[in-house]
Amino acid sequence: MSHTTGEVTRPTTVAPPTRTRRTGRIPVALLLPAALGLLFLVLPLAGLLVHTPWSTLPQRLTEPGVLTALRLSVQTATLATLLCLALGVPLAWLLARVRFPGRRVVRALVTVPLVLPPVVGGVALLLVFGRRGLIGSWLDTTFGITLPFTTTGVVLAEAFVAMPFLIIAVEGALRGADTRYEEAAATLGAGRWTTFTHVTLPLVAPGIAAGAVLCWARALGEFGATITFAGNYPGRTQTMPLAVYLALETDLEAAIVLSLILLTVSVVILASLRDRWISAP
């Protein structure tokens, strides 16, 4: 994305012909914990793979409920990410570029959904958007709209939990970006909006992409806020994590298969997007 706007190219992004890293031995003090960290992350996945009932896998894949839940998961996570982009990027810009009183407090508030247990987040959403909620009761009486137990409710729950990931990533990218380009655009007569759309956005596009990927991944795995706010009904609000949880109640193998499907789909999507969006070395 950033390469299409030709005029503004950061000197640092001009890649050398051969990407030779700084040579020298890799310090053991870094290599050892790195290897341990990788093992720690990958071993549970290996545990899943070891216990996968490969013989019944194709049969389970074709069960209609599985594809319904998978489709719903991908759709709601994508919609939630779009919602987060529409609201989160401007909020990140505000936090990074505009000095206003209480900015620290706002920055801390943005991270609240990160520390809040998702189930509590779901209850909080019910208290605001529920049938008796602050906004929900008004929506119900004025427009006849109720959000709990709907697919829209799933999107809202996922966006609530996932938005901080996007905001933090984008704000970090904005604060790390060189503001001289924006200043140059301003001296050339560009307004703040034009600067934002023509200079700032292309400059931090990789950061936005990374944030969107994090946001999408978090939304895809969302469980607590979803089941609390949107409930669990096949085809409408039952996403993959909810299906996995319920399968766990009766059938461990089915739960493992469902988890693997979700993992595979998300890894494939993320890997293909990563190649396209983020210029991975």
Binding site: G130, F149, N232, T250
Partner: protein, 262 residues
Amino acid sequence: MRATRFRATLAAFTVLAVVGLTGCGGDSTDPPAGGDGISGELTVFAAASLTESFTRIGQDFEAAHQGVKVTFSFAGSSALATQINQGAPADVFASAAPVNMTTVTDAGNGDGEPTVFVRNQLVIAVPKGNPDGVTGLSDLTKPGVKVALCAEQVPCGAAARKALDAAGVALTPVTLEQDVKGALSKVRLGEVDAALVYRTDARAAATDVDGIEFPESAGAINDYPIIVLKDAANKPAARAFVEYVLADTGRSVLTAAGFQAS
């Protein structure tokens, strides 16, 4: 200087050893209060719906057997069954459904046969005052009445399915909750107009909900089995606890919470 300190330490150890030995001797000859020689730690894995009553029973049990410390782990019966089969250190397992008990006994982790100690029955939980005037299952199919059920994979959902089938009521819920507390909280928050929950849960939430009894629930009664586990570290205390639950002492607490005696 050093020698003196060594001697002092030695003396202290000797005193401790003597006290310890006499202490042990005293234990073997004089039984502690309770008169049955039961002591030590006891770990009980119990279904979440037993939280209130078993906590109370545990306190009573500790009072009756000085020297016993009861620790509970309350969770969904299926999660507990999985943990036990994966080697979790538990002495007693109390399940909210026979199927999860079978998971444990089939894996050879039970000591003897499980005993059904109570039964639980479904009621219709409605907001306090019953604003929709619900009197039976058929009222739940009225247009505009939102109902929460448990998912069929968990015991309260299986019981609800049985009861609805017995009544011949075709009900489309707005949500299939992961456990009975989830269904109940949707009523408490006013998001649904009714939910099928256990009588014990409705009674525990009596400040917010009313429990409406309905005849078809008699055909979907849930048995609660209890068992001493094969790998129990403290079998005497585990057996005593199961006996205590089955005796009038435990039953009175359970029936007060809304359970039916088995």
